[in-house]
């Protein structure tokens, strides 16, 4: 029985030497990291360190370039996704809650959710062959997301643009869940959100992690994440300068100074 516990969990997302230049500026410099099935990993760092660019590189929104040490490679569920278009990457099972929410303001709240529900079922190709954690993930549909965010049911027929910042953030998370991802990437989800809403969002993410969903959380504030996440990466000037678990991070207070505000 104990043997199975020693088998390392499969790597769901793997980045090898990811390098990205924008207008000659080196934004990402050989970043390597991984997220395992059912794991909550954080990517920490101050503004302008390349966190959002890394998310865009994973999603195929920005194209990575070869690094000095070799080819930039991004793998998801044992498939290389480095050169795939964004919509194909999303269909493989990566959900994104982007920075500044980016809801569709010209659609109603319900339409924002319905349009994302298109890829249900197709979101996890080979779900039957996926590791048990992925196969056992709940199917997210309208009823389920409205159960965890009841405010979205109350506001269903309203224009998404009329929601408050916190409600828009909930909508952005719910919309990403409607794609039934295996990995959910959250980019600065709590920025500009009232503390009470922020706590609700963290509770929701903790619940998702307990359900077995893999999460990559990008944030500047370590205080809320230290007890919730499994591992952390600190990004400094496009490079991973430190990685470790929460216990190790607590024992390296200088790292909190390096890349994290509010630690």
């Amino acid at each position: 029985m104990t043997v199975s516990n020693e088998i390392p969990p499969p790597k769901l997302l793997r980045l090898e030497n990811v390098t990205l230049r924008l207008d000659q500026a080196l934004v990402l410099d050989g970043v390597s990291l991984h997220v395992d099935e059912g794991e909550m990993v954080t990517l920490l760092g101050r503004n302008g360190m390349g966190k959002t660019s890394l998310v865009q590189a994973i999603m195929g929104i920005r194209r990575v370039q070869p690094s000095q040490d070799g080819q930039s490679q991004i793998w998801f569920a044992e498939q290389e996704i480095t050169r795939l278009p964004t919509h194909v990457i999303a269909k493989l099972g990566i959900g994104l809650v982007p920075e500044q929410r980016q809801i569709f303001p010209n659609l109603t709240v319900r339409e924002n959710l319905q349009v994302a529900a298109r890829v249900v079922g197709a979101a996890r190709p080979g779900r039957e062959n996926a590791p048990s954690e992925a196969a056992s993930l709940p199917i997210w549909d309208l009823a389920r997301v409205e159960e965890i965010f009841p405010i979205l049911r109350d506001r269903a027929r309203q224009s998404a643009a009329s929601l408050s910042g916190g409600e828009q953030q909930m909508l952005a998370i719910a919309r990403a869940l409607m794609t039934n991802p295996r990995l959910l990437i959250l980019d600065e989800v709590c920025e500009g959100i009232a503390p009470i809403i922020r706590q609700q969002i963290w509770q929701c993410l903790t619940a998702l992690r307990q359900m077995g969903m893999a999460l990559l959380v990008i944030d500047k504030n370590i205080a809320d994440l230290l007890d919730r996440a499994d591992r952390h990466y600190i990004l400094q000037k496009g490079q991973v300068v430190w990685q470790g678990n929460s216990q190790e991070l607590r024992s390296h207070p200088e790292m909190l100074e390096w890349g994290v505000a509010g630690g």
Binding site: T86, I89, P98, Q102, F104, N106, E111, V115, R118, S162
Partner: protein, 337 residues
């Protein structure tokens, strides 16, 4: 609980009322040939046909411009293709309406797919310029086709024939155009609220965000562009039958500009806006033409007033008036334009 029941009862009543009004309007529109016959006013029927046909073309444009946010300044290309799809076969002695329809659908569909695939590689100003460039290319192509009238255009001796009926008959043409318009309006309304419409509308705001939900946005846009091209082609076919004439001017940019104005005046992205826009623009043109020599100036002033009112079209103005009439504050949270 009783409050909820009362509200839903009110909503059901309002829907029934709206349905009844729409049905009455459709019946009145369908009976127009009878009224014009009784009143001996054939020019009214001819004018109404023109409104209905151009409203059909504007409805098609609304699909890509109103929902998809793609300002096509070359939509007249397909109107012209539709017109020549009738005029050239008629000139060669083929009067079969089904043949005309098949030709028009094929030509506008193929040209729509080819030009759409190129134009949709760009967006914004680039898309406007490329769509305009394609329309101009075809405009000069038809100007150069001396065998088919060249710059002078091509007269149609007999309209498209469907069994015993011909579209040269004004009543038949009007009723057929009206039926097609009603189907197109209904289809547009259903598409708007279907996933297809949601993807188009969402992508108009944020294309990359829609892609990261798993949608190949360009494929959806090309499909919408081709559908719009084919529907505009049908409008062109009807227009040629109305005028009994096809000319390169049908493909020129002023025609595209008129269609854009109809969509914008009526209400960009609303299902019924293009029809209202076509009625307002053509009726305004008709009335002003009869009263003043400088009718274009006054028409321009009318459009300017609408734009300066801060409203996004006639539908928006009507919604605001209704709210004032009911002395109720404007309902917040209505879906955006």
């Amino acid at each position: 609980m009783s409050k909820i029941f009362y509200r839903s009862k009110n909503a059901a009543f309002a829907q029934t009322k709206l349905g009844a009004i729409l049905l009455l309007l459709i019946l009145l529109a369908a009976c127009l040939p009878l009224f014009t016959q009784w009143g001996d006013a054939p020019f009214v029927l001819r004018f109404a046909s023109r409104v209905v046909i151009l409203a059909l073309a504007a409805t098609a444009l609304n699909l890509i411009m109103g929902f998809g946010g793609l300002v096509s300044f070359g939509q007249a290309l397909f109107l012209g293709l539709g017109a020549y799809g009738v005029a050239i076969p008629s000139h060669l002695g083929f009067e079969n309406g089904f043949l005309h329809l098949a030709l028009v659908m094929l030509a506008s569909g193929v040209v729509g797919a080819m030009t759409g695939m190129i134009a949709l590689r760009t967006s914004g100003l680039g898309f406007i310029m490329i769509s305009l460039a394609f329309a101009e290319m075809f405009y000069y192509l038809f100007v150069g086709m001396k065998n088919f009238g060249g710059d002078d255009g091509l007269s149609i001796l007999a309209g498209s024939r469907f069994f015993a009926a011909t579209l040269a008959n004004q009543t038949f043409l009007y009723l057929m155009a009206l039926a097609i318009l009603l189907v197109a309006l209904l289809a547009c309304h259903l598409l708007k609220n279907a996933r297809f419409g949601m993807v188009l509308r969402g992508a108009a705001m944020n294309k990359m965000r829609m892609a990261s939900l798993g949608y190949d946005v360009r494929r959806y846009q090309i499909l919408a562009y081709v559908i719009a091209a084919m529907v505009t082609g049908i409008a062109g076919m009807l227009y040629a039958n109305l005028m009994l004439y096809a000319a390169p001017s049908y493909l020129a940019w002023p025609m595209s500009g008129n269609l854009i104005m109809m969509v914008v005046i009526g209400g960009l992205g609303t299902s019924i806006g293009p029809l209202l826009g076509a009625i307002l623009l053509l009726l305004g043109e008709e009335i002003l033409q009869r009263t003043t020599e400088h009718w274009m100036f006054w028409l321009g002033a009318m459009i300017l007033a609408l734009a300066l009112s801060g409203k996004t079209g006639l539908i928006d103005v009507m919604t605001a008036w209704r709210a004032i009439w009911q002395k109720a504050p404007l309902r917040l949270g209505q879906p955006g334009k």
